[in-house]
Symmetry: D2
Subunit: 338 residues, 4 copies
Amino acid sequence: MIIVLRPDATEKQVNHLVAKIKSLGLKPWVSKGVERTIIGVIGEEDIIRVQPLEVFPGVERVLQILKPYKLASRDFKKEDSVIDVGGGVKVGSKKLVVMAGPCSVESEKLLIDIARKVKKAGATVLRGGAFKPRTSPYAFQGLGVQGLKYLAQAKKETGLRIITELMDIRDLDTVLKYTDIIQIGARNMQNFNLLKEVGKTKRPVLLKRGMANTIKELLMSAEYVLSEGNFSVILCERGIRTFEDATRFTLDITAVPVIKNLSHLPVVVDPSHATGKWGLVGPCAKAGIAAGADGLIIEVHPKPEEAMSDGEQSLVPANFEKLMKEIEKIAEAIGRTL
Amino acid sequence: MIIVLRPDATEKQVNHLVAKIKSLGLKPWVSKGVERTIIGVIGEEDIIRVQPLEVFPGVERVLQILKPYKLASRDFKKEDSVIDVGGGVKVGSKKLVVMAGPCSVESEKLLIDIARKVKKAGATVLRGGAFKPRTSPYAFQGLGVQGLKYLAQAKKETGLRIITELMDIRDLDTVLKYTDIIQIGARNMQNFNLLKEVGKTKRPVLLKRGMANTIKELLMSAEYVLSEGNFSVILCERGIRTFEDATRFTLDITAVPVIKNLSHLPVVVDPSHATGKWGLVGPCAKAGIAAGADGLIIEVHPKPEEAMSDGEQSLVPANFEKLMKEIEKIAEAIGRTL
Amino acid sequence: MIIVLRPDATEKQVNHLVAKIKSLGLKPWVSKGVERTIIGVIGEEDIIRVQPLEVFPGVERVLQILKPYKLASRDFKKEDSVIDVGGGVKVGSKKLVVMAGPCSVESEKLLIDIARKVKKAGATVLRGGAFKPRTSPYAFQGLGVQGLKYLAQAKKETGLRIITELMDIRDLDTVLKYTDIIQIGARNMQNFNLLKEVGKTKRPVLLKRGMANTIKELLMSAEYVLSEGNFSVILCERGIRTFEDATRFTLDITAVPVIKNLSHLPVVVDPSHATGKWGLVGPCAKAGIAAGADGLIIEVHPKPEEAMSDGEQSLVPANFEKLMKEIEKIAEAIGRTL
Amino acid sequence: MIIVLRPDATEKQVNHLVAKIKSLGLKPWVSKGVERTIIGVIGEEDIIRVQPLEVFPGVERVLQILKPYKLASRDFKKEDSVIDVGGGVKVGSKKLVVMAGPCSVESEKLLIDIARKVKKAGATVLRGGAFKPRTSPYAFQGLGVQGLKYLAQAKKETGLRIITELMDIRDLDTVLKYTDIIQIGARNMQNFNLLKEVGKTKRPVLLKRGMANTIKELLMSAEYVLSEGNFSVILCERGIRTFEDATRFTLDITAVPVIKNLSHLPVVVDPSHATGKWGLVGPCAKAGIAAGADGLIIEVHPKPEEAMSDGEQSLVPANFEKLMKEIEKIAEAIGRTL
């Protein structure tokens, strides 16, 4: 922590800060520059991070030196984490993982049909929402528990692992019965109580970046899960809010290598939600893999015209299959496999 | 709903869309322009809004005509809603309402001290967090139920109404026992299940705008509460995420008149969270009132240096008192009272 | 300047940096913390600011302590600058300055008519574009020199001071003949050669904030003008680009007090461009004054339906007059005059 | 153009609009829906686009149907444009084009050394700034004409084509003497007079997207060049401003396929400026190619520690060479060549 003082800061103000720092068991060092005096703080930055130093008289700015997350940090764990989601599927290894399926679970028959098709194309995890966060209270809210049961049936028939979203703490036990990976959606990235609860389970978690959240905040939300003892966290870049309106969100492709630098956790890209348009899913999926992502999560629906949600961003199975072949080539080009 | 076709759209594609629209019980009209054919849809826009028309072959773009919210809309209710929060305090009338208090409830003594001071300065509602959403799992998370009890005590001693944040559905019944207004924080603006639950109570709700949410989305989240039968919703502008880093968020002051045009619900401004710096709270509070807000929610702490959260954006009571006098003058200038 | 090293930085890397700093005539001090070593640099920060220290091996991050602008800074000049634009009109004093007029100069008759009306309502500067920056090459591009002549005529008839935009260095001498204040538009805020050229004149400059520029960058662009010897710079907040699409731009009202803290230069608010809608101009104009702005620049047109540009954001003279009366009351409430 | 009326719009207001539309030689059609009347306008949308229809009484919103750019549009020209920049180098064909070199031209010796190295690695165009747009007036502003001469010398020695930035209309003739591609920087994307002037030349232009500009605005700026008769325009995605501060800008990778859909013009990606950090250049360059870009523009410097600008984002030649080999594999994977 570096405290930058105002040019007119008095000796008394400096001493007041020094006393405060010492009272916290930390070590201050004062450096007088040409234009500004600055105070460095040596010791556990966590102790002082929560102090409102900016309100101390004479303080101009406070600069943090250390990262506010620990367990999620590459400093804490040098080697890449590989998350075992069961059934031989591991996220974060040389082999890419593709999760695919409909936005919402709509019917058993349809789901199993999609499951078979995405499996054939190379996906190893089936996605499908049973509880849907919808902007409008009047939109389809998902099939609920019935949807979860269909997912279980699809797993039984295909052997695919299952990922589904948990929105409500009250549904945790139910969701745990049916899913291999718990998805925390973008709108819940800072639902801290929900994060703590999934942290208490040992089930793998896919944590989506909030649409207005920085990479640092994503890692701090991951820290909530990790600090409860659950180290099986997969991060997901799914687009952020910007002024550009040609797409639903702006895929922050650079987040992939940035996260890889800062953290040991694997990261997947969601080109369906990032773009909101099926015609853009392919280029963005390929870009995600080229940028170093460990996998993809893609919406697939055989009849997008009739999809109960997100039809406009769903690939039909034939296009998904074609894309998988292209991704396989990109994977090879960068020394990975699909 | 207007469907804009691609320049190369075929007759068959047009007919396919027309058939779909008719099958939904709606009325299509087709207009062939110089460069584009467009199809208008007459009837309940809600029915067609959830259809993924953009995936139909030949479609270039789909334009919504009607607002996706109903009950929150000024079209639904022409006159301003005035929310009675009890104790003679009404939000949305000519008289402004100022809610003030500490970020977190820290101790009974401190809280009651602040309560007395903000009351004396003219505040009629006491704010204070018992459950705190914190970016870091290692930061102070609030006193919980004990904090709620202190709020109740402060109410007893001062007569101020109470507002406190609800983060977790499991705490709803407890929070209802102690608060007059349920605050839904920015990070929970799209926690739709939480919105539904507070919608089922009849308790007034202060709904904060999410940091990356549009005004339209704020109104749709309000619609979640209203559609459950709770019409006592107060909206709150508290700053949005932008590229500007001189402040914590960017106060979207124009949201005040925009919301007033679109909706009948009252709107208050939170200059403390919007700016993140106590020295900017005054100018932004005054700007909020000048722009037409129905009130303010302001953080006040007698010793910001020792505050357990948000010290850097808290006013000391003397500055709050001074600000209230200035706000009174602005109120008069625009024909309102404090 | 603070250089934060990576946790694995070697002694050799530290020495390499220390040597570099010394070779620049600056003084390094090295501090070893629990998790990170940091190096502070004492001396002229300008010398080291341009060094790409982040590429030195072992460096994690570089933190700037000092502001990159000097002459525009409040540190350089404590008291508020008051810019004399002639004719007794001074921007930055207790008395507010309102600049008003059409977006584009369209005809002499119309311009003089508007000039008389805005003068009667209390404006002291007439705005009007002769050279118009238009997003589309097919849109009306302004009357050019003829427009400047009409402005001169309007000045002659009303005594109002003139402000008009300069887009092209080649037009500088011509524009100087007709205008009292040179406006640099948002799209030219970082047209550095243009800034240097207006810096070489002594004519007052109104510098608009770019739609994607930080306050810091605005002050650095002002520095371009100041460093050429022209200290008559008025800053203008006119809205920034954000994800919110209910308005054309998002008025960053907090920029007003932030600029007042950082700089001695006066600042005015442009509610017309910030909102893009005439119905929002009034609330935002009042908010701007309440937040501490030194003036306003507002578009006025008697027949917005026929305006050749920006009709949707222009006030009719009657509404402008009404607004001026409201602003007068706000001005009084905060101890200023109109 | 679709005009949406307010629910309370009167018959008289509708007639007033209808009359206006007819007076422009266009054809109105009125459609009365359940909640709103809307008026469609058939005919040249350009005529009505510049009309401020939103100020007409009774109008709620105006929706544009057609794109405001013509010549840049894929509707205007179906097949991809291939821009011949001389020396056998063509941008927009199956073969990718990589432009590489230092941020600023610093000395003849250094430039020629870099030129040889990037050529050996596979680049076919040499980049280098002689006129530099710098945020600070105190930063190195480029060597000017001397820099251009060094570029010419490097071309002579290596056969590489040259790209350099034009900032000032007054330098146009000089720059034309030395460069094969005129670069228009992000800060000048809406310097419309500069665009017109380069449009009057027939020299290829690389037009960078402004940091706060939409893809639509980029295409409208391209339209400025095209409408003057210069069809040799290469577009460049170089990152936009967002709230994320882990990188200098946010690379909008999806802009690549979006532009490919909307326009026939080729598009290249600039991973150096987009990220601002050399360690992120590789992943983003690969992502750009995987997403469908026609080429890259990359900063290369043998001693980034001593670079006079942008050292932190420059690759050393060895890393550039390594990256080129990786890009070659990605190119093959998607059916292109390097």
